[in-house]
Symmetry: C2
Subunit: 167 residues, 2 copies
């Protein structure tokens, strides 16, 4: 989540011309409250932090939370609204190698939708206390979904470039 | 993925007034080709089918696929463009009980972004052959991400209402 190149292009990075028009539109349905107010503060990934964050859902959608408390984990989709959308090849600072955008979880991507899996601690009205986020305070919320281990959990999945980079 | 109420409201379902304006916009970056051309054809969920589907990425974004072939699994985000967005309580036909939208994976939601985890078989140019999708043919593609077991896999996650419903 903390690719420092978000407002510029670093050596080795490549941008393309984006389509002239958009195809669909989004509502912000709430905000994510976290302890992190600058990119530098954010944990490098969600597993590095056990901070409790709060998802504040807009009141209008409150009824849609029915039965959510029965879920141990949720899929959270949110909007990384401070990112460039035209970069197809990028050089994450902490890896130092050029990678394709779709091989990275960087916020710089054509549609800057982030996905995080969170552990749900409790729900108070329209406020959800969760563990597993690494985004900036006030990040716009797009969606909440139940996490089904049967379809969403793949314990033996491998990101080859990442494994190789550690070797 | 196959909530037949997408164009109407069933008994027990509740809609709210949506915000007057959108907050952000999306590009369709490709299309998903599947064997299913009507809702009734689609598998009830992705685990019910081992059909090989094809993700056709727009040529403009081809360079962003660099290193993706090293991933065994991908997160696919796509747009369920035929869904109502104002329903907060719904009654999935195959469960028959009223549930909150955020406790369901139904396409009817304020931002109809679907998430599926797929197994990557191969990449030929801008065409990705994958297993694990259950959407209609020609569904618009929004994003591809590497699936990291370390943060994305939670084998013991439970959706309580779903387990209870089976008991």
């Amino acid at each position: 989540m903390n690719n420092e190149s978000e407002f510029g292009i670093w050596p080795g990075e490549v941008a393309v011309e984006l389509p002239k028009e958009y195809d669909a539109s989004l509502y912000y349905i709430g905000r994510i409250r976290t302890p992190w107010t600058t990119r530098a503060d954010c944990p490098k990934n969600a597993r590095e932090s056990d901070a409790v964050c709060t998802i504040e859902l807009d009141e209008r959608f409150a009824p849609a939370l029915k039965d959510v408390e029965s879920c141990t984990h949720l899929v959270v989709l949110y909007w990384m609204d401070k990112s460039r959308r035209d970069i197809v090849l990028q050089v994450p600072r902490h890896y130092g190698r050029q990678r394709g955008t779709f091989a990275l979880r960087s916020p710089a991507r054509p549609n800057p939708i982030a996905m995080s899996i969170v552990r749900l601690l409790r729900i108070d009205g329209t406020k959800l206390s969760v563990v597993g986020l690494d985004c900036l305070d006030h990040t716009p919320l797009l969606d909440l979904k139940p996490y089904f281990a049967s379809t969403d959990s793949v314990p033996d999945a491998v990101v080859g470039w990442h494994v190789a980079g550690k070797g």
